[in-house]
Subunit: 446 residues, 2 copies
């Protein structure tokens, strides 16, 4: 590897010789001294160079110094450089309390001087140049947080002997509904892109895997342009055996989120405060729970009338229930449970004593839905009847219904949008800000 | 949760009352005693029930015992049951040295008695009924090993501050080549499924992410039916900044594999020995390295003539180089380096002193290629020239070439097929055995 100390590691080093490498964030080219803010993947530091503006012929040292000065004067924003220098811890330096005096400097990869985006560029413009947009400390931090969050999720599961699965995204039929489905020519037939791993993570149940998880792509040919929809997104999924109801799924789900948020807080709490300007809150389990019926009442009591006829919450309704949970329970999370069967898929189990309600939930976080979970119907006759009732063709579902014909334990699980969690955890206005490369109806590049 | 002790945890429990749940693997229904082998996600245990073949009217205890006996007699293979009983550690019991005397038994989900596959079913038939096939201890173990391997990979990276990325699988153009590309209608335009995350993991380099990884789906419309090809597969990818050559990538790559294999050996070494019948070997770094030119000589010296004109190895050639590494270095892994530029993609960096060779490698493991890695060409003029030389249109690649115009560190990385690693680590004959749900030209279900 090219020898360098990561900038974040400079603070722990003694004064003296050091190599650093990264890209030029700013150059302050003063008459007597030059300052370069150098950034790498870990942070930013100030380089300092006493300017040499002229040099006599034959004065080799002065010629070299002049060369460095001119090199720095000509540095374009974004240029990647490798610097040998002298580290000095100096608490007067605002940026990190240290600086590196330039000894020698190599331009590794020069940038075109005209940067196509600026701090005030529109989100769409920034996404056009996402690889430059991501150079910001904030964007970098977002994806470090995502890394920590996911790894904590997986570690939670792995420590409990869950099996990680990779379900196929190419399917012979729809996984959820006929709507919003991408289709493609697949040799002599037609394939569809999975809208969720629903069928296949359930398959792990009759397969005797016990508990499984997957963090992977899902696809929806969804023509909407809201701040929380994408045509391709990262879905966080789990499915567990031997549940008694959706309550068991919720108990795991909230523990998982506490584990994930704890890891983020420990590693990046201070950075989040500096960059996003708020204190990152680790939730406490159990999260408050309200039934959908109660949630409707909370919304109505708050003076808002939900503008949908099907009894589900709309985005404003979700915000009101979330606000209620924050106010009365001090919780950013709230489970809304027992959704009407009419607005849930056929594979959700229904109440034994009231088939109009399901053993299901949505999880709301800071005002919006991030996840849907449920106990699944595992009795094949009931499952088939519910499919027919929803207008589905059991013939076409035959391969899926087979999963339930050779023995299957009671089970349940959830699917959760990773970008939604990040967006709401970091108070960002759109999932586009927290997606590496957003995909929407009019966005297929870069 | 439904109360139960996982079968693997029974050995650590004292004798006495216990609940277990799982599916019926076998029933031995003898006249005086019944044995059921019950399996769950963690293992198998023997249930025992003293048979009660008749009961007098009015003798409630005997009636109940008769009921249980009849229930057991009628248990179909695969039926999921929940049992309350009495645990007895007894080393005379071959299966795990313990048994559970049945107190009460509930059929949770009855299986159709006719199982569609048997131990001697063809692989294709087994894949038709994959959810039943996966119930075998061996298949279960494969996916536990996969889970451990992946988690160890990710932990290796996360501990070194790599960023996990989720690159889009929907692209506006080909990521690797025009061949073997799935395409789909995408609103008003056409999208392609990513053949690899190549372009987008490289994007993380000018984005200043430093080091990134991704374990995700990749798609190839590859019509081949070999034991090591699939149309959809899980690709293990990493890309790191500030490399001096492909050697830096290889050093990380071998460390990663050692970390992964160490974790597998620790957790499942004993199980692998029992189920697969061989001792799982943790490799030692550094792995042997030979140039492709040397590899060709090794193959020729072994008396085999490679049947390709382009200078690359063929499968038999790979086997011979692998055999050589095993023989002369005692290593199951071998890096073949410095591939001819003519058989490498345009984005591989070429030797400074010999542009016919690249800073690249393939990693062979137990006779077959599992990975390709390289230092990337990051100088945009050279990259563009190499693309043109390969017959590509720089116009179409414009968005990718832009990544290199605004500053980019020297970098390199690799892509590795997860299923190939597993197949070769477990001496399995096909990736179909180690893929949760295989996808091939004629296989899109279940």
């Amino acid at each position: 590897m090219i020898e360098r100390t990561r900038i974040a590691d400079l603070a722990a080093r003694p004064d003296g010789p050091v190599s650093v490498a990264g890209w030029v964030e700013t150059v302050r080219d003063q008459k007597k001294v030059q300052f370069v803010v150098l950034r790498d993947e870990s942070g930013a530091a100030q380089l300092v160079n006493p300017a040499t503006r002229e040099a006599e012929d034959g004065d080799d040292a002065a010629q070299i110094a002049l060369g460095i000065t001119n090199e720095i004067s000509g540095l374009a924003h974004g240029t990647f450089i490798h610097v040998q220098g002298t580290l000095k811890q100096d608490e007067r330096v605002k940026l990190g309390g240290l600086e590196v005096k330039v000894g020698s400097l190599e331009v590794v990869s020069a940038a075109i001087p005209e940067t196509p985006i600026a701090d005030d560029s529109s989100l769409d413009k920034r996404l056009d140049w996402r690889f430059l947009d991501l150079r910001n400390r904030k964007q970098n931090l977002i994806f470090r947080i995502q890394t920590t969050l996911e790894h904590a999720f997986r570690t939670y599961w792995v420590e409990r002997d869950y099996i990680e699965i990779h379900t196929p995204k190419l399917m012979a039929s729809a996984s959820e509904s006929r709507a919003e489905l991408f289709q493609l020519e697949y040799f002599e037939t037609t394939a569809y892109l999975a809208q969720s791993p629903q069928n296949f993570k359930q398959m792990a149940q009759p397969a005797g895997f016990g508990a499984v998880f997957e963090i992977a792509d899902a696809f929806r040919a969804d023509p909407s342009f809201t701040s929380r929809h994408a045509t391709e997104f990262t879905s966080v999924d789990a499915e567990i055996s031997w549940v008694e109801s959706h309550e068991d799924v919720m108990a795991m789900h909230e523990e998982l989120l506490v584990a994930g948020f704890t890891a983020v807080k420990e590693k990046y709490g201070k950075d989040i405060e500096e960059v996003f300007g708020f204190e990152f809150v680790v939730p406490t389990a159990p999260f408050p729970r309200v039934t959908l019926a109660e949630a409707r009442k909370i919304v109505a009591d708050s003076g808002y009338e939900v503008v949908r006829a099907d009894g589900d919450l709309d985005p404003e309704g979700e915000r009101r229930v979330s606000a209620w949970a924050k106010e009365t329970h001090g919780s950013e999370f709230v489970f809304v449970t027992d959704y009407d069967a009419s607005i849930r898929p056929y594979y959700h189990m229904r109440h034994a004593d009231d088939p109009t309600l399901t053993n299901s939930y949505d999880l709301l976080f800071n005002g919006a839905e991030i996840s849907t979970g449920a106990q699944r119907e595992h009795r094949v006759e009931t499952l088939t009847a519910q499919a027919v009732e929803k207008g589905l063709d059991p013939e076409e579902l035959g391969w899926y219904l087979d999963f339930f014909r050779y023995g299957v334990p009671p089970h349940g699980g959830f699917g959760m949008g990773l970008a939604r969690v990040l967006m709401l955890a970091l108070h960002e206005p759109s999932i586009r800000e927290v997606t590496y490369l957003f995909r929407g109806p009019t966005r297929l590049t870069p």
